[in-house]
């Protein structure tokens, strides 16, 4: 049947008509009129003239050109196998721990699409709060100057050949030494023991910034060579003898938050901080009482305190005002008893012994001071290091392994170390960069960045903090513990090594099954039980020598104190442009170190005391013995006359080492400057080793330096050039704790120290039947706009900043910088007042003058204003974080011609970059001057090539993908981290629950170690920020301008001693 089936498309086909057959035989059934067309003589006559031809050609060329003009396509490739936990656009957080030999803090690392982009404190399961150095360290991960492979004799090599070379190097005869910073890692300690056992390598610890005077004092007094664990949270009275415990000294990441807990006026009690120091430190700027002393007097201040408290020792000679402060401090300490705490920052054995005796006299050991046998920070042994250097120079060292430190830069006698290093048979460094030390070593075995590898760390006897990788290693690097194991002949990968440290029975099969471990990694620590410790017992060591030593100290015309700045610290991150550009909280100076001097001294020497855009600093020559260096002089209010201060951590990379592009000075065009020999010019000068080594302890003070004017000048880039707030108490409000207590219960707006500002109106407001000066209307009640309901409608984001808690540490500045892709603009632009920080911290000094005094003393108004610009000689200081105030009546919004800045219905003043045409009118009309303009194309212009992360192919990976990188010519400013609030709203919406207080938080509030910044929904009656609006300390800055900000400040309360 099937065979017979015939298909046909028409009856003609079925019938095979002749007509059909004819058509079928032709390819084109209908006739093509081609001949006709070609034969048409009109065609021959048709004139496709030159003009038409040109038109057509022009069109075609233009069309083709335009079609070719396509913006470059950046392809993103989706995951073939999507990792379970990574969703593009959704951030992941990993608990980890930061330790750089100094700061030790539990953190959460935020990653996006596998890239770590932000570091914040792990407040849930961890201790300590990140500071600027910690949260900016994420930038270092992407530094393209990092070593990208192991090196041998300056050539890149492979790990097996490096390992072979090291193993060979370790066979030499002589001392074989592993030189590290303080090792806090149990796994590292295990690897060190393995290496000790297999190759006879000795372990020497040496800290970049030595604390050995403290640890030696503890050994003398308690037989334990440890750095005490200070419990600032338990202290009622703290006396700091040049110990900047809020900024750089000791375990500051832990102290800061603890201390702030004792500083809440609402609690009805506040701790009191007395500071004795020569230069103005962050701690001194936050002290309730600050006394100016010279470095040579610090020991005597300690001795006088001791004598006041326990009657021990002979009377010492001190200035009258200093003695009065000592007595006041002693009285407070005695009152606090065991809840008193004295800390000293000088690395001076005698002072530390006396301070230890004071704390003992207070019975503070056990309450505010804990002395754990193990573990301890700052285990560096300077004497062992000095011995090592002399052995190296004597040719007795066969092999030197350096990990975690950079002695060629920071050793007290770096020249001797370098000379010795040349005589060492074989040397290897595990540094991330070919830094001063590593570049001098035979081999370089680069370590992972802390965000790339596994590690464990221990600072608390009860827990092991874990470090977990947040990204695959970017380069061919290896964890130092892994390297040591390899050199010990027991190669193991870092992870296995770590697991085996905590569970000897660990095998790869058990990788995921150990629930204890999994919880540990999730929380960032493993709980461990430790045997009961015996309490520390005083050895009865004699103090007489120390007391005699300090009593005999004499200073020269000038004394020097070397200190550390909050952002740069010991200089490890000198190549981090964000830290270089973070203004010092005290001097507000970026990108340099300098000599801080008292104004009177500078005037006597004829140096420039007004440093601004076109007023460069005068350069002075500082001579200490045979060493001399030249640095610009900075007039520092509060600096003790006859003393100078210079920051450590500068002058990195003096030998052209590859430690990061941003570590070197650039010219105005953006190219690196070079000296006569073609070497790059480091930023600032290195002052490690300027102070003498006393009794084997590298001191940080010099009692006799000479300072000479050189007549040269040098520009400094300061973000703030006006030092006082000119008596404008609607900008800053402050009071004393006693005055606060007197009116603690009054309603907001009524207290004498925080009165609502009223403006006179021609209306009988108070109802006394008369219109006069008493008729005042609160500034917030004036309104020329149509009423927009803001209270109770949807969200209304707001912020409250407690000036009492804010210590000015600048962690918020760097956090904001990283979160919001704020460009780094470099020194020259900062000098021109074009820093881009969305969040800045205004630092105001108190002046000795005000209008009342001017009037009382008959000084004219103009002269009084002039005098008010000058800070007092030992001024009180206010740190005031300042960012967009998100005014409900924003002056910026009305003046924008194109409505690029508008108010959101959530109370946020928002900036539409795409719409901005860059008239800058909004910035002019901003009373707080918080708006930042993109003066150049920061991500592309040559001037910024050597420091703006957005210009580095690798470093730009740190940019937050949730925040756009702004183009040239547009205005930008604080958005209250709108990307975060939107994210939190989305999460709440997905979960179908109301937004929880605290789920949306800005980067600055999150970073604040003292919880000075509160962010939340003002329309949420249960929110913390709403509660602050009822606090009687709350005020709005510049309230009388009528701008009604959504950011509020809480009056600063100082616990000043009664005069």
């Amino acid at each position: 049947m099937a065979d017979n089936k015939i298909y046909w498309s028409g009856l003609e086909e079925l019938d095979r008509t002749p007509e059909f057959e004819r058509i079928e035989s032709q390819e084109f059934p209908a006739e093509r009129p081609a001949d006709e067309f070609l034969a048409d003589d009109r065609l021959q006559r048709a004139n496709t003239g030159r003009r038409d031809f040109l038109k057509f050609m022009g069109f075609s060329v233009t069309a083709a050109t335009l079609a070719a003009c396509e913006t470059p396509v950046v392809k993103s490739i989706p995951y073939t196998n999507k990792p379970e936990e990574i969703t593009p656009g959704v951030a992941n957080y990993y608990a980890s721990t930061f330790y750089d030999g100094h700061d030790f803090v539990n953190v959460l690392v935020k990653t996006r699409e596998g890239r770590p982009i932000f570091v914040k404190s792990n407040t849930e399961t961890g201790f300590g709060r990140v500071n600027a150095r910690v949260n900016a360290s994420v930038l270092g991960l992407y530094d393209s100057a990092r070593l990208q492979a192991p090196h041998l004799n300056g050539e890149a090599t492979t790990w097996p050949s490096l390992d072979a070379a090291v193993s060979k190097g370790l066979t030499g005869s002589g001392r074989k030494v592993l030189l590290t910073g303080t090792v806090m890692s149990p796994s590292m300690k295990r690897a060190i023991s393995a290496l000790e056992a297999s190759a006879g390598v000795e372990h020497v610890q040496c800290d970049a910034v030595s604390y050995s005077a403290t640890t030696e004092a503890m050994r003398a007094d308690y037989g334990r060579r440890v750095f005490p664990s200070y419990q600032f949270g338990k202290a009622e009275t703290v006396v700091s003898l040049n110990a900047d415990f809020l900024g750089t000294w000791g375990d500051n990441v832990w102290y800061t938050a603890e201390w702030a807990k004792t500083r809440r006026p609402e609690d009805g009690a506040m701790s009191r901080l007395h500071a004795f120091e020569s230069g103005m430190s962050l701690t001194g700027s936050n002290a309730d009482s600050r006394t100016r002393v010279k470095p040579s007097e610090q020991g005597r201040v300690a001795a006088a305190l001791l004598r006041e408290i326990s009657g021990q020792g002979a009377a010492v000679v001190l200035d009258e005002t200093v003695m009065a402060s000592v007595k006041a401090a002693a009285a407070d300490l005695k009152k606090s008893g065991a809840k008193g705490l004295v800390v000293a920052g000088d690395n001076d054995l005698a002072t530390q012994r006396i301070v230890s005796a004071i704390n003992r006299a207070l019975d503070a050991v056990g309450t505010t001071i804990e002395l754990h046998e193990n573990p301890s920070l700052h285990q560096g042994d300077d004497k062992a290091f000095a011995q090592l250097v002399s052995d190296m120079n004597a040719g007795k060292v066969a092999a030197l392994l350096v990990d975690g430190i950079n002695p060629s830069y920071h050793a007290a006698d770096a020249a001797a170390f370098n000379a010795g290093l040349e005589k060492v048979g074989f040397s290897v460094s595990t540094a991330l960069f070919a830094d001063e030390t590593a570049s001098r070593c035979t081999a370089m075995a680069p370590a992972h960045h802390w965000l790339e590898g596994w590690n464990d760390l221990q600072i608390d006897p009860n827990r092991i903090d874990l470090v977990q990788p947040a990204i695959q290693p970017l380069y061919d690097t290896r964890q130092p513990a892994e390297s040591l194991m390899a050199w010990a002949g027991q190669p193991a990968d870092g992870y296995t090594l770590l697991r085996q440290t905590h569970s000897a029975a660990y095998t790869a099969d058990a990788m995921y099954t150990d629930q204890n471990w999994n919880t540990g990694v999730h929380n960032g620590f493993l709980a461990v039980t430790v045997p009961e410790e015996t309490p520390a017992v005083y050895t009865g060591a004699d103090l007489g020598g120390a007391l005699r030593d300090v009593a005999a100290r004499k200073g020269g015309t000038f004394e020097l104190d070397v200190y550390r700045k909050v952002a740069i610290g010991d200089g490890q991150q000198a190549g981090n442009p964000m830290l270089q550009e973070t203004p010092d909280p005290i001097t507000k100076t970026t990108w340099d170190n300098y000599v801080t001097m008292a104004r009177v001294d500078m005037e006597a020497m004829g140096l420039n005391t007004y440093i601004a855009q076109e007023e460069p600093a005068s350069v002075v020559k500082v001579t200490v013995g045979a060493k001399a260096l030249e640095l610009p002089a900075f007039p520092q209010p509060g600096q003790t006359p006859g003393t100078v201060g210079i920051a450590l951590g500068y002058g990195r990379g003096g030998g052209n080492e590859a430690i990061g592009k941003a570590a070197y000075q650039v010219g105005e065009g953006g190219d690196h400057l070079a000296d006569a020999e073609g070497n790059l010019v480091p930023i600032g000068k290195n002052v490690f080793g300027l102070a003498p080594v006393v009794d084997g302890v590298p001191s940080r003070a010099v009692y006799d330096v000479s300072i000479e004017a050189t007549g040269e000048t040098y520009p400094l880039a300061c973000t703030q050039i006006q030092h006082t707030y000119m008596g404008r108490d609607s900008v800053v409000k402050e009071t004393s704790f006693d005055d606060y207590l007197a009116e603690a219960g009054v309603k907001r707006g009524d207290a004498s120290w925080n009165k609502t500002i009223g403006l006179n109106v021609h209306d009988d407001i108070n109802g006394d039947g008369e219109i006069n000066a008493l008729d005042k209307k609160a500034a917030g009640e004036f309104d020329m706009w149509h009423e927009h309901a803001v209270d109770g409608v949807g969200h209304r984001w707001g912020m409250a900043i407690d000036l009492t808690s804010c210590i000015g540490c600048s962690a918020c500045v760097t956090a904001c910088h990283i979160e919001n892709n704020v460009p780094v603009v470099g020194k020259d632009e900062v000098r021109r007042h074009r820093d881009m920080h969305w969040m800045r911290i205004d630092r105001f000094y108190a002046s000795d003058w005000n209008m009342e005094r001017g009037e009382a003393e008959g000084v004219g108004v103009i002269s009084t204003y002039g005098k008010m610009e000058e800070p007092g000689a030992n001024p009180q200081t206010v740190h005031m974080p300042m960012m967009c105030q998100h005014c409900n009546h924003a002056p910026c919004e009305t003046v924008c011609p194109v409505a690029a800045t508008t108010h959101s219905n959530e109370g946020v003043n928002q900036m539409t970059y795409n719409r901005c045409i860059g008239t800058r009118y909004c910035a002019n009309n901003c009373p707080f001057k918080v708006r930042r303009f993109n003066w150049f194309h920061y991500p592309g212009y040559d001037k910024f090539q050597n420091f703006n992360p957005a210009q580095d192919a690798i470093q730009r990976m740190v940019l937050n993908p949730d925040v756009v990188v702004r183009s040239r010519g547009v205005m930008e400013k604080c958005s209250l981290c709108v990307q975060r609030t939107q994210g939190a709203k989305l999460e709440a919406k997905k979960a179908g629950t109301p937004l929880e207080d605290g789920s949306a938080i800005t980067a600055c509030a999150e970073a604040c170690p003292t919880n000075a910044i509160t962010f939340g929904d003002l329309n949420d009656n249960a929110s913390e920020v709403r509660a602050t609006y009822d606090n009687n300390r709350t005020y709005h800055a510049l309230e009388e301008v009528g701008i009604q900000p959504n950011v509020a400040y809480l009056t600063k309360v100082r616990n000043t001693p009664k005069a």
Partner: protein
């Protein structure tokens, strides 16, 4: 024909006839360019090109090439803008207001004063454009229907008012000026012998035939335009002043600004007219048309407006003290005693003290003194805007942001460049356009020309 009081000085000197006027005005256009003109235009166009280079560098690199910063967001740019707009006030005032008041002496100066206005407004318009961070989207300030979404301009913003004010002023001034030029172009056309020139001037004169109907319409249009232009003279600078007056910045937030700015503008505008005309009358032999009488009249305007400006300065100072607002009083104390006090005292000397010299008749009628003082006044008026803008911004509410402004070479280059462009345009005008409203001038020849008065009194006429 109205009669002149016998004691009045004649407006046109030198026994001119109608033909003389035509010859004096059209002659230079027909003749070869004099050497002096060639030298001047070379210098000014070199400066103009330098300025254009600076502007291109600015646009190519970013606003950062200027000395502005986070505290001082406007400085030379807006100073120059207001200065040029101010200068652009005199022309329209002379042609429109004085036309309405039937001030016949204006006829000798209105043409070039108006040209000056046009060119000054063009220079002024350069600055709001180039001061923008993204000049390539500057058209967003125009309320154009668009497809960016429902985006519209912000009518609350004084900058937007500026856009309307300046563009209206410019277009009305331009039309007014051009209408006046039409009969004069026709005269030139009629005298030109070379075909190309004839064609060009023929085109420019829009087929003017000199018929009575044309003249009637001409008169009517002039009057109507004068009526439109007069309020603009006052509105433009009032609105420019609102850029400052409506802000919250101490030193800007001042209700006195509109009248103060308008009188300042007239003040500087007349000074610039003096500067230009005193050169022009000399180099183009127009001494008979623009003479001491004109100069003196303009100097009187300068005394009046200068005194108003002076009173405004003092009022500001008084109010800042009287208000009791600490920011306000500090802003003014800082003006005269702070880091920029030099600018303040230059302003005070040039604008308040120097014009008072014109109370002396000898100085008022001295061409050399007038020339010198006219330049002094314009320097003073530049500093007035600089003082208002920079000293108010550099220290406002929050002392932590107090800063400094320092001009860069590009700031200077752009400003000097606009001077170059302005003078280039003016020189081109002087060479190719009728610098005097010759047909209008002819209407006053019989009432004020010396020769004509003589002939009239003799009862004879030479026509």
């Amino acid at each position: 024909m109205q009669q002149e009081a016998a004691i009045r000085e004649p407006l046109i000197l030198g026994n001119k006839s109608y033909k003389d006027i035509t010859d004096d005005v059209v002659g230079p256009i027909q003749g070869k360019a004099p050497l002096g003109w060639k030298i001047m235009i070379t210098i000014s166009s070199v400066i103009a090109f330098y300025g254009v280079g600076c502007i291109l560098y600015l646009i190519g690199t970013g606003i950062g090439v200027w000395g502005l910063n986070k505290t001082v967001g406007w400085a030379w740019d807006i100073t120059n803008f207001v200065w040029w707009v101010g200068i652009g006030h005199a022309g329209t005032l002379i042609s429109a207001v004085l036309l309405l008041f039937r001030q016949k002496w204006r006829m000798a100066i209105n043409r070039s004063a108006e040209a000056m206005t046009i060119f000054a407004v063009i220079m002024a318009a350069v600055f709001p454009g180039i001061h923008m961070g993204r000049i390539w989207v500057s058209y967003w300030v125009l309320p154009l229907p668009n497809q960016f979404g429902s985006l519209w301009v912000n009518f609350n913003s004084p900058l937007l008012w500026d856009v309307f004010a300046i563009s209206t002023y410019f277009s009305v001034s331009l039309v007014f000026w051009y209408i006046g030029l039409i009969p004069d172009f026709a005269t030139i056309r009629d005298r030109m012998t070379k075909p190309l020139q004839k064609k060009i001037y023929g085109f420019l004169s829009f087929g003017w035939s000199g018929r009575a109907k044309h003249w009637t319409r001409f008169e009517e249009v002039s009057l109507v335009l004068a009526g439109i232009a007069t309020p603009l003279v006052f509105s433009v600078h009032s609105i420019v002043s609102m850029d400052f007056a409506t802000s919250v910045i101490p030193g800007w937030h001042t209700t006195i600004f509109p009248p103060y700015f308008v009188s300042g503008a007239v003040f500087s505008g007349f000074a610039m007219v003096q500067t230009l005309l005193l050169i022009m009358r000399k180099t183009m032999n127009l001494e008979n048309y623009i003479h001491t009488k004109h100069v003196e009249y303009m100097n009187i305007v300068i005394i009046v407006t200068g005194s108003i400006v002076g009173v405004a300065y003092l009022t500001e100072l008084f109010i800042s003290w009287y208000s009791g607002v600490e920011y306000e009083s500090y802003a003014f104390i800082n003006r005269f005693s702070g880091p920029y006090s030099m600018s303040y005292w230059i302003m005070m000397t040039c604008n308040v003290v120097s014009p008072q010299l014109f109370w002396f008749k000898k100085i008022r009628r001295s061409l050399v003194a007038t020339f010198a003082l006219s330049i002094v006044v314009n320097i003073g008026m530049w500093f007035e805007r600089y003082v208002i803008i920079v000293t108010s911004l550099h220290r406002d509410f929050d002392p932590s942001s107090w800063g400094e402004f320092h001009a860069t070479s590009i700031d200077v280059g752009v400003f000097v460049g606009t001077l170059g462009i302005f003078f280039t345009l003016f020189l081109l005008f002087a060479r190719f356009f009728p610098v005097l409203a010759l047909n209008e001038l002819k209407t006053i020849l019989k009432s004020s020309g010396e020769e004509h008065k003589r002939i009239q009194s003799d009862g004879k006429s030479n026509h």
